[in-house]
């Protein structure tokens, strides 16, 4: 019943009804994710200053570490976009190369973030230290958990891509996971602004 002819230019992931609906469904999921993160941002911003006599962000935040994390994630978002570009040129090699770079940058980001968290805890600012640090670790930690989840998910898709090559099914999965990855960078832009810049300028 699906007899629509596709122009050869139509990307594989859009060539089936399922593919199109899955992509649309994922955008709706991202809308829900925006709502989820907004509640965490609201909680964090309300708790700014409630350090209960413990250390505050201005003492612990360091611009160099934050900038490294920001540029790692920003660059990974760019390389993830390149992977989709090569996927639409039917270059499986290009997809593997750029997704590989994306995952490596993502792991680098996670490494710096874990280092940062351990450093704060070492300096006496843990999840249970004060309302402020609870808000901080829940907001930034939820983003970090999303990145971890994204790396695991995309790694599994790479295995399937290796086995099956570029099909409407696999390209759809790569494309949807790329939307997820870009979205994580969007959330980070706001963490960079509302948590780190705000905390350091204050």
């Amino acid at each position: 019943m699906e007899s629509v002819e596709y122009s050869p230019n139509t990307p594989l992931e859009y060539q089936s009804e399922t593919g199109r609906l899955n992509i649309l469904g994922f955008w709706i999921f991202l809308g829900a994710e925006i709502a989820l993160f907004s509640t965490l941002f609201a909680t964090y911003l309300v708790l700014v200053g409630r350090t209960a006599g413990g250390p505050g962000p201005e003492e612990l935040f360091e611009i160099s570490g934050v900038l490294i994390e920001t540029f790692l994630l920003l660059t990974s978002s760019f390389t993830c976009g390149l992977a989709i570009h090569y996927m639409r040129n039917h270059s499986l090699k290009g997809v593997f190369l750029w997704i590989g770079v994306t995952l490596a940058l993502g792991l680098g980001f996670l490494g710096f973030e874990i280092y940062e968290f351990v450093h704060y805890i070492h300096e006496g600012a843990a999840l249970t230290t004060s309302a402020y640090w609870s808000g901080f670790f829940v907001l930034v930690g939820t983003h970090g958990a999303h990145v971890t989840m994204g790396i695991a998910w995309i790694s599994l898709i790479l295995i399937q891509l290796k086995q099956r090559g570029l099909t409407p099914d696999t390209t759809r999965k790569v494309f949807i996971s790329s939307l997820y990855w870009h979205f994580l960078d969007v959330v980070w832009i706001f963490i960079f602004t509302a948590v780190y810049l705000y905390g350091m300028v204050m």
């Binding site: 809308g31 911003l45 200053g49 976009g81 979205f183 832009i189 300028v201 204050m202």
Partner: protein, 107 residues
């Protein structure tokens, strides 16, 4: 199929990604400069950096995520705009409501 439009440029160099990447870097550095090297008041700084963040988010959505490329682009854009409205209502509303009775806090 309207999703053919942007696919025509496929075999070419990915300029839109490169431009988006460059703009994101510039916007990040600009936010840093406004935050640490400018003489604006705290309030002005926060307004400017939030606007810069919103522009950068729009660049991601348009140039990296191609939110407008598919047949259901209007639903996608509508969903995201609605989610942004919800986010602004939650964040601004919470800060506003919680600000009552907090005058003696040194915020």
């Amino acid at each position: 199929m309207s999703n053919n439009e942007q696919t025509n440029s496929h075999s070419h160099f990915p300029w839109s990604h490169l431009i988006g990447f460059g703009l994101s870097i510039v916007l990040t550095l600009l936010a840093l400069w406004v935050g640490f090297a400018s003489d604006f008041s705290f309030r002005t700084i926060m307004i400017i950096v939030v606007i810069l963040a919103l522009i950068q988010a729009a660049i991601q959505l348009l140039m990296f995520m191609h939110i407008t490329e598919s047949d259901s682009s209007r639903i996608q854009v509508g969903t995201i705009l609605y989610a942004v409205f919800i986010a602004v209502a939650i964040v601004a509303g919470t800060i506003w409501v919680m600000s009552f009775g907090m005058h003696n806090m040194n915020m």
